[in-house]
């Protein structure tokens, strides 16, 4: 590949340079461009499709669409957001097709206006980030996330894992900002309940921090 990347001091990042190269037809640079985001792309697809093989296929298809439409990318947007937005659309389209076939999606219309009351008040003090080095902790977190209804899971993944802002999350999913906030609140509280309870049951018990005292 005979691509010369410019000096960062010139104010052009490597990503901007790669985008320009791909837009000029150097499609061989595209994988280098998307590689830093492949985890996030996969996570977005998985949050919507819930199946690893479908998520991988949707992620690949989305990247091909991104490559085909790279000239439409405008510098004022964040590339990662653009990429993940395409992935979300691809995954949503696939799920809609699948749901039509399977006649699923009954939970979509359930009322979400009712308030969510936390059920567990375990004193869950700060979790050191080293906890994530343990596979069983990551596994428990993934299971808790997978147990959420899809409308909560999707909003949570885009906002808290993909780091979309509230407005971007709303636009990506085609829902209102108010719905994003409501669903995000519920998702966070439900996960807290699921995980704080698990913590009390001992699956965080080998973590190197002290359990706080419960005041009641």
């Amino acid at each position: 590949m005979n691509v010369v990347l410019s000096n960062p001091e010139q104010g052009i990042t490597r990503e901007q340079e790669l985008i320009a190269q791909v837009q000029r037809g150097h499609t061989e640079c595209f994988y280098d461009l998307v590689r830093p985001y492949e985890r996030r792309v996969y996570a977005a697809a998985l949050a919507i499709l819930r199946n690893e093989s479908d998520a991988e296929d949707a992620a690949q298809e989305a990247m091909l669409k991104a490559l085909a439409n790279i000239r439409q990318f405008r510098a004022e947007a964040r590339f990662s957001t653009w990429l993940i937005q395409i992935t979300v659309n691809e995954a949503l389209m696939r799920r809609r097709r699948e749901r039509t076939r399977m006649m699923e999606g009954i939970d979509d219309h359930r009322d979400e206006e009712g308030e969510y009351t936390p059920r567990d008040f375990a004193d869950w003090r700060e979790i050191p980030s080293e906890a994530l080095e343990r596979k069983e902790v990551r596994q428990k977190l993934a299971e808790a996330l997978a147990s959420l209804d899809r409308k909560y899971r999707e909003v949570f993944v885009l906002r808290d894992m993909e780091q979309f802002n509230i407005q971007e999350t709303a636009e990506a999913l085609g829902i209102s900002v108010a719905s994003v906030k409501t669903r995000l609140l519920r998702a966070r509280l439900m996960l807290r309940d699921l995980l704080a309870g698990g913590w009390e049951q001992g699956w965080f018990s080998r973590l190197p921090f002290e359990k706080g005292t419960k005041p009641w």
């Binding site: 499609t27 061989e28 595209f30 994988y31 998307v34 492949e38 985890r39 996030r40 996969y42 690893e52 991988e56 992620a59 690949q60 990247m63 091909l64 669409k65 490559l67 085909a68 439409n69 000239r71 439409q72 990318f73 653009w82 395409i86 659309n89 949503l92 389209m93 039509t100 308030e115 009351t117 936390p118 008040f121 375990a122 869950w124 003090r125 700060e126 979790i127 980030s129 906890a131 994530l132 080095e133 990551r138 977190l141 993934a142 949570f156 894992m161 780091q163 509230i166 999913l173 085609g174 906030k181 609140l185 966070r188 509280l189 996960l191 807290r192 995980l195 704080a196 419960k214 005041p215």
Partner: protein
């Protein structure tokens, strides 16, 4: 705005997510701070919710299947080859096809002066400031294009994804519900961030082959 004396546990739980986002007003924040400092239950909810955000926000939480990157790279390479070979095949035909398209386009344009587009509603508004590369969906037999997930998509069994620019070029009009903010009246709002520029059929990128 919530009265400072009125903040109780339920209100704290209702606002806890906005509180973490920094999306509560100063008065409510002070009231919540005071409540949380004296309420162990709410303190526990706040700390637990923060832990959730912190843990899931860590990139280590996202595990990709073994070989994911290699398979993606291979598929992208295949896709790029197909695009290049498709382009070289078609480019040989491009000049005569372009000439025919120009003639046909001229005839169609002349007809359009007297005949409305078959999909266009007489009540349709063109939409303003619609991002050209916004991904939208259309369904068979309908004349609107929508944000994916819009409640009023007709015939959801036969939907197609394309960009807003392509949808407009094909004669579709923005859904009055999910695309409301882009409709003409909304575009004329004094809060509009930039001069209103109607999304028309610009010649920019017209020659670019459409994505799959």
């Amino acid at each position: 705005m919530v009265n400072r004396e009125a903040v109780n546990c339920e209100q704290v739980w209702r606002e806890i997510s906005n509180y973490i986002e920094g999306d509560v007003d100063a008065v409510l924040r002070v009231a919540m701070d005071e409540h949380i400092s004296t309420c162990q239950r709410c303190k526990s909810v706040l700390e637990g919710t923060r832990n959730v955000v912190q843990l899931y926000g860590d990139e280590r939480m996202i595990e990709i299947p073994a070989g994911f990157g290699r398979r993606l790279e291979r598929r992208l390479a295949q896709g790029a080859r197909v695009r290049r070979s498709t382009w070289s095949t078609w480019s040989a035909w491009l000049v005569p096809v372009a000439a025919l398209a120009l003639i046909a386009g001229g005839v169609r344009w002349a007809n359009s002066l007297t005949t409305p587009h078959p999909l266009q509603s007489e009540h349709a508004q063109p939409g303003r400031n619609i991002p050209p590369d916004m991904v939208v969906v259309v369904s068979a037999g309908a004349k609107d294009f929508h944000v994916p997930g819009c409640d009023v998509i007709h015939n959801k069994e036969k939907i197609r994804t394309l960009t807003a620019k392509e949808a407009i070029r094909e004669g579709y009009v923005p859904c009055v519900r999910c695309m409301r903010k882009y409709l003409q009246t909304a575009g004329l709002s004094p809060l509009s961030p930039e001069p209103v520029a109607e999304l028309g059929l610009s010649v920019e990128d017209e020659d670019r082959p459409r994505g799959r």
